[in-house]
Structure formats: C-alpha cells, structure tokens
C-alpha cells in the first residue's frame, strides 16, 4: 500500500511543488501523468526517498517512510522499493548477472544466482546473463532493469518514463511486462510518465 498526504517540496521559492494526495492499495497500479516541469521526477524521487519532502507524509506498507532519515531510509528503500529508471544505469565493469546480484547484496539479501537466473530466463535474457553492459541493446537493458527492480521482492515498484522512447508495439509489451512481473511479487506499481498512450493501459491515473 502507498499513501501520500499534503506532499510539498521546493528547490527554490519560485520552483516549488504541492502534490495531490493519493492512495494505492497493495497490488494495484497507478499512473501519474504530467507534462515536463510538473514535478514528475521530483515526485518519484520523493516516493523513492532520494529527496525528503519539506512537509507532508508518505506511507509505504504502513511505514511512515518520509520521516525516516539517512541510512535507514536507504535500507528501507533497498528492501521495499524497486526503482526502474528512465535511463538504464548499470555498473559498467560488472556483467548483467553480477549487476542484478549486486542489488541483492546491497539490500543485505543473500545473493541468489538461481533466482536471478530464473528471472533472466523468464524475460528472455538467459543467454545474456554473462554479457557486458556495453554489449546489451536498449531493450535488453530495460528488461534487465525491470529484473533488478523486482529482484528483492519489493512491496512498491516505481517506474520512471518506462515507455517514452518506445514505439507503440514495444510500449504495450513493456507495460504488460511490468504488470505481469509486479503481480508476481504482489507489488504495488506506480508509473510516472508524460506518455499519454499509457492511459489506455491503466484504470487508475492522476494528472499533475
């Protein structure tokens, strides 16, 4: 479950945001639509705990996430929130498998190569497990990103502009993939985007 109330954040007095309250039940999906400059990324960073709100609260699974600070926040995120970034950042010196296992390791989970391999197979990346990051296509990297976001079985998955650079077919496929995979671990999915096409795939949406 994800719930926010009266979230405010300002970079400068001129550039400040006041976000609408919303609530998503466990396993439900929410689409947050907004044009650029409406604070999409800011909201995602607040929900992920990369930023702390000036005021207001965020509850993730009954935990008041916004009041936590420092490293306990980092650890809470690592264990409970999976973030899928718009740009697919990976540690360049590690291969695909090692990158995903690094996410397990950093969340203090036991690295489980068997589980990682199962997920890679499910998303058609079995043969790419030991590939270098530089050898991967964008599509492959996105799927690897999704696996990394889900590998620690989070309760909340945040996806930032997952479809903005994709054509219609691939767009539909990625949304399907995200929905399927989050459903598997029973996580709440929140997608932040300016991509109006996604309206058709989500029943719940808010506009910034």
């Amino acid at each position: 479950m994800l719930k926010t109330s009266d979230l405010k954040f300002s970079y400068t007095p001129e550039k400040s945001f006041h976000f609408p309250d919303f609530q998503v039940e466990s396993g439900d999906h929410l689409l947050v639509l907004g044009k650029s400059g409406t604070g999409k990324t800011t909201l995602l960073h607040l929900l992920a705990g990369f930023l702390s709100p000036d005021s207001g609260k965020i509850w993730v699974d009954k935990t008041d996430f916004s009041s936590q600070s420092g490293f306990s926040k980092d650890q809470f995120r690592a264990r409970n929130i999976g973030v899928i970034f718009q740009v697919h950042h990976f540690v360049a010196s590690l291969n695909v498998m090692q990158n995903i296992m690094l996410a397990q390791k950093l969340a203090h989970d036991k690295p489980d190569s068997h589980e990682v391999m199962k997920m890679l197979t499910r998303l058609g990346l079995k043969g790419r497990a030991r590939a270098r990051i530089s050898e991967m296509s964008q599509g492959e990297l996105q799927r690897a990103s999704i696996i990394r976001g889900l590998v620690n079985k989070p309760v909340l998955v945040l996806a930032d502009e997952p479809t903005s650079s994709l054509d219609d077919d691939n767009c539909a496929e990625v949304v399907k993939l995200l929905e399927e995979q989050t459903a598997r671990v029973g996580a709440t999915l929140l997608v932040v985007t300016h991509d109006q096409r996604l309206k058709d795939f989500f029943t719940n949406s808010i506009e910034l």
């Binding site: 960073h45 992920a48 650890q75 973030v83 740009v87 010196s93």
Partner: protein, 397 residues
C-alpha cells in the same frame, strides 16, 4: 559481489589507465627498494671488512687508494714500502699488532696476497677443506675463488705478474702454486683472495730482480695495524706521515668519507624514486577523479540500491589500495630481478657478491608508505563519492 571484487573489476574494466598507474608506482617502489639494498650492501661491505684494522701503512699516495687496495683489494696499491722502515716506525708501545701484506701476482683476475696467518685470524677465516699454509708457494683460497676457478685442494697453477688476466707472457713459469686449503664462505674480502705466505711473494719477485742483476731488500705493499688504545690512533698516524716516507691512513675516516660521497649519490637516487612514487600517486588520484565523472551515475545507482555512502567511499579507497598493493608486490619483485642483474655485473667486474636479497625492515616501511600514499591519493575521490547526491545526479540526464 562484495565491494573489494567490484573495485577489482572496476580496475580491470579500465586496463589502460590502471596499467599506467601501476607501472609508474611499480617503477618508483622498485627504485626505492633497489637504492635501499645497494646502500645497505655498500655500507655493510665497507664496514664489515674494516674488521679490526685501525690504521693502514703503505707508500705515499692517495689515502683512499691505499685503503681500497689494502683492505678491499679493489684498487691498485700505492707502491711498495721497505720492511725495515715500517718495522722501525711501528716499534711503538701503542701498536697492538701488525699484519704485513705483499702483493705480487694474480691468477685469472684474483689477487694472490702474501701475508701472515694473523690476516686470516683478523677475518676469522676458517678452513672448509685442507690445511693451512706450511711452506712457500702453498696457498689457501677463498670460497668464491674456489667456486669460480674450479680450484680445489691439490690444484696447481701459475700466477701472472700484476692484475692482468690475459697476460700469459708474464707468467711465472718456474713457480707453480699449490692449493692446500679452501676457506669457508665468509661474505668478506677473503672470499675473493688467494693467500700465500709473504716469502712466496718475495721469492718469486727477488728472482725477477736477480735476473735484472740487482739485490733488493724485502718489501711490503702495506701493513694493517691495530692499536692497544685510541691514543694510538691519535698519535701514530701523525708520526708516520710527518717523520717518514710512508703514509698512514685510517680506514674508519676514509670509509666514512667514501660512504658519505656514495651516500650523496644514493640519497639523490632515493629522492628521484620518491618523486616517481609521488607522481604515480598523483596519476592514481587523477585517474580515479577523471573516472568519477563518468561513474557518478553508477555510484548514485548503487546508493539508490541501498549502498551506504561509506561503502562508495570504500569502493574508491579499495581501488587506490589495490593499485598500490599490486605495484608494491611488482616493485619488490622487480627490484630483486634488478639486484640479481647488478649483482652479476658487480661479480664480474669487482669480484663482489651481493648477499641477502631478502626483505629488509626499510622495505616493510616502503610497503606501508606506498599503501598510505595511495590511500591519501584516493581520499578526495572517495570523499566526492561519499557526498554524491542521488536525486541530483540521477535527474541530471
């Protein structure tokens, strides 16, 4: 995937910049280690071989040359001195003992030294094989001589006049030396010598003189003197230098001057080597710093995945430390290889063997210091990594 392994992979991911850093640091460490060893060897060899000699008396000339020739056997003697004159001047109550030396021949580049049994006692030389000298033309040989020339007890050979290795014209055909004993290896000059009694040297060279139709009184090349008390060192050398045609030189003074001069060269080399280590650590610093720019997304990502800022800090410190560790090991190995090469060269040219190439205490310091320097060099990049702002960095793209 623990952090150390991630650091290791990061280094391998950029082989070129890593190699440059490692190469530079290896060079610096190898040089410092080499300089430490050579300095030690030189000092060690010089000081050990002074043994109990307080003063050397020889012909007038350079005092350094006198010391180098009569104690270390690495220079030409300054000339010969009259046995009668030297004995007269050393008939002094402050003189504890005197050991006469007479040079004449050599054999394949190794000196044949005529002296008394006291000479071997001075260096505590003991026989590994055979017996001590009982008659003229019998010789006892040092361990290196035995090994290099393949001589053993019972071998015979002809000496060559002077130190010319190839000169067969001046071989003393009529007199064959006989090896009666081989000395144990001592690490001192006696390893490099062929030792006979004084009379052998005289006999061979008097015969020379006879041929030229001239009778000569017995001569020494030099005399090694030790005193009963420090007063002797103050008084006797001055007496010899001022009142006679002889020269007295004090090994302790000459050797200190020599080490001082060599020491200057050594400390210049050491400074150069330390400079190289500093440059290499700057290269570590710059390469970590320049990679930081392209790696900041990676680092922010790791933070977003739950890495503690200190872990990012460690990741970079490990990279610096790994470079230093690899370089230190490679540097110490390189210095050993260079030592062996130099040792071979010195052996061929000066008949000196470098011993003890094991780790010395300064090298533990060198090892620790290199790690410390690398740690300092990676400190700034590590602090930047520590302070990375996840939100700002990830929003930048």
């Amino acid at each position: 995937m623990n952090l150390l392994r991630v650091s290791w992979r990061n280094l391998r991911h950029k082989p070129f910049s890593t190699s440059v850093s490692v190469l530079l640091m290896t060079l610096g460490i190898a040089m410092v280690s080499l300089v430490i060893h050579l300095g030690r060897q030189i000092e060690d060899q010089f000081l050990k071989n002074i043994a109990g000699v307080d003063m050397v008396v020889g012909a007038k000339g350079s005092p350094t040359q006198l010391i180098l020739s009569s104690i270390y056997h690495i220079d030409a003697p300054t000339g010969n001195i009259s046995k009668r004159e030297v004995e007269q001047v050393l008939k002094n109550p402050m003189v504890e003992s005197m050991i006469p030396l007479a040079y004449g021949d050599s054999y394949k580049g190794y000196r044949i030294l005529g002296t008394t049994p006291a000479y071997l006692e001075l260096y505590q030389g003991s026989l590994e094989e055979g017996r001590s000298i009982k008659a003229d033309l019998e010789v006892v040989i040092g361990a290196t001589v035995a090994e290099r020339l393949g001589l053993q007890v019972g071998s015979h050979f002809h000496g060559t006049h002077g130190m010319n290795e190839e000169d067969t014209e001046h071989q003393h055909e009529s007199h064959a030396y006989q090896v009666v004993g081989v000395l144990e290896r001592s690490g001192l000059v006696i390893d490099q010598l062929i030792i006979s009694n004084i009379e052998s040297v005289w006999e061979i060279h008097n015969e020379h003189q006879h041929e030229e139709g001239e009778e000569k009184e017995p001569e020494y090349t030099a005399v090694l003197v030790s005193f009963k008390n420090p007063m002797g060192m103050m008084m006797v050398p001055r007496l010899v230098n001022e009142k006679t045609t002889l020269q007295a030189a004090l090994p302790s003074i000459e050797v200190n001057a020599l080490i001082h001069q060599l020491g200057f060269g050594i400390s210049t080399l050491r400074l150069l080597a330390i400079l190289i280590i500093v440059i290499s650590s700057i290269s570590v610093f710059l390469s970590l710093l320049s990679k930081l720019k392209e790696r900041k997304y990676e680092l922010a990502l790791m933070r977003s995945l739950g890495a503690h800022p200190l872990q990012l800090c460690l990741l970079l410190l490990y990279e610096g430390l790994l470079i230093a560790l690899v370089s230190a090991i490679a540097g110490l190995i390189t210095s050993r290889v260079l030592l062996l090469i130099i040792s071979g060269y010195i052996d061929n040219n000066f008949h000196y063997t470098i011993q003890n190439v094991g780790l010395v205490s300064e090298e533990y310091w060198l090892f620790g210091t290199s790690l410390l320097i690398a740690l300092v060099a990676s400190m700034v990049p590590a602090i930047i990594a520590f302070r990375i702002d996840i939100s700002k960095t990830l929003a930048e793209d």
